[in-house]
């Protein structure tokens, strides 16, 4: 029941997105705009300072992720479909995991476009170690989205949800973003050190485990009343 419910929610979110293309376009456009603005500002004579590219990449992911989270739950609020999801006998955790998976997939799509562009514009050697890069970006995205999905669902009825979401989300996800940036910087170093990358990746996995566990634990009570 749990896995079926997760799959149904993910498939529904993807179907809605394929038909509207609203989130993919706005998230991607917003993230690319961020990257371009920083590129014009920070790239001098075809080069940026070391570590700038990964920093810009994660900032774009953070801002675009906030936008995607807000809009995903705004969709569920408009026809009160989140309420309908709360009425089904499937475990509430399945609803959370379904929404989380949908957001992670959407951000993964954005990142697939974003990473090569950042690597090119900032001359960052991130693509030399694709396995490590995908691992760091994926774990960082999951950690960010795990907290974001919980907060976005909690705030769906709050009048000032658009302001409150980043106010709550950014401070709590700062450790994930720092680990993501440091891990990506380590990957982009000319002299690649797998031990350093492994350290940041382990930290990100630990954050993911803690955040997802806490979110699963709190989702049912915070969504009941």
């Amino acid at each position: 029941m749990m896995l079926r419910a997760i799959w149904l929610i993910v498939r529904k979110d993807l179907t809605v997105e394929v038909r509207s293309r609203e989130l993919a376009y706005t998230t991607l456009f917003f993230a690319l705009s961020c990257v371009l603005v920083f590129a014009f500002s920070l790239v001098q004579e075809g080069r940026a300072a070391d570590g700038v590219g990964p920093g810009v990449l994660w900032m774009a992911i953070m801002f675009a992720g906030n936008l995607a989270l807000g809009r995903t739950f705004e969709r569920e609020r408009q026809a009160e479909t989140l309420r309908a999801l709360m009425l089904v006998p499937a475990p509430r955790e399945a609803v959370y995991l379904g929404k989380l998976t949908g957001i992670v997939l959407l951000l993964a799509l954005t990142e697939a476009v974003l990473v090569p562009i950042v690597a090119f514009l900032f001359q960052a050697e991130m693509l030399a170690h694709p396995f490590w890069l995908i691992s760091v970006v994926a774990t960082g995205t999951i950690g960010f989205a795990a907290v974001g999905t919980l907060f976005a669902a909690m705030l769906v009825r709050a009048r000032s949800r658009d302001v409150l979401l980043p106010v709550l989300l950014y401070p709590i996800t700062v450790p994930v973003i720092i680990a993501g940036v440091r891990g990506t910087v380590a990957i982009a170093q000319p002299e690649f050190d797998a031990e350093v990358v492994r350290f940041w990746l382990t930290l990100l996995v630990a954050f993911d485990v803690v955040f997802v566990t806490l979110a699963l634990w709190t989702f049912e009570p915070v969504m009941t009343d």
């Binding site: 029941m1 149904l8 529904k12 479909t81 309420r83 309908a84 009425l87």
Partner: protein, 234 residues
């Protein structure tokens, strides 16, 4: 685990939102094969009461019992409760069939797609089943929403203003559907302002005002006159 119940008992239930008392010490019982109407002006507490019966809200005090179960068995109870809310609870980008199949799947129906087709045939929307919900008229959407609420054959059907946006033919179809639910052994609780439509349909009526039950009536007749008398008097 599949659960079932023959009766819903609301025992001295209150619900507060901060200092505002939305429902105050409400008590009633409703059994299988009955339609209960919650009648009252806006802000009387009808929707809050329905939300508590649906397990979406916890009572501030009092207890709601579903046969031998209380509302702490939320997850298994939800499999036997169907809710039609003020809003339609439908995804406008999905087709009518996709909406019903999606919710049917979440209710654990094995072949939810064929159940969705059957439901849409019953609602007279077979020809529009593959149209996005956004392209349907308000009345058609309301009919799809009703089928969504009933896709899993609930024991308890909770309907908030189910006649909204329906034309005469659809209203007649809905009345017939509600009677067939009652004849099939469901417990139907509906909140409505439409006293003319409720006339002859309800087995019991509760008149609510400011969260309190002002009067309870069995097999009510002359609802409008009673409503004017009861609500006006209070």
């Amino acid at each position: 685990m599949s659960v079932d119940f023959d009766e819903v008992a609301v025992e001295d239930v209150s619900r507060h939102f901060g200092r505002r008392r939305a429902v105050s010490r409400v008590t009633f019982r409703v059994s299988r094969g009955m339609i209960l109407g919650l009648l009252g002006p806006n802000g009387a507490g009808k929707s809050t009461l329905l939300a508590m019966l649906a397990t979406l809200l916890r009572p501030s005090s009092g207890n709601i019992r579903y046969g031998a179960l209380d509302s702490s068995a939320r997850a298994s109870l939800r499999a036997r409760i169907g809710v039609l809310g003020h809003d339609l609870f439908l995804y406008p980008e999905l087709t009518a069939r996709e909406n019903l199949a999606f919710f049917g799947g979440l209710y654990g129906i094995a072949d939810s797609d064929s159940r969705a087709r059957t439901a849409l045939e019953r609602a007279g929307l077979d020809a529009r089943r593959d149209d996005p919900v956004a392209s349907l008229s308000r009345g058609m959407r309301q009919r799809v929403a009703l089928e969504r609420a009933l896709i899993h054959d609930p024991r308890l059907a909770l309907l908030d203003e189910p006649f909204t946006g329906l034309d005469d033919a659809s209203t007649e179809a809905l009345l017939a559907r509600l009677r067939s639910l009652r004849d099939g052994g469901a417990i139907v609780i509906l909140a409505t302002h439409d006293l003319d439509l409720a006339e002859g349909l309800l087995d019991h009526a509760l008149f609510l005002r400011e969260g309190k039950v002002i009067q309870a009536m069995a097999a009510p007749g002359g609802l409008r006159a009673t409503y004017r008398h009861v609500i006006g008097r209070s």
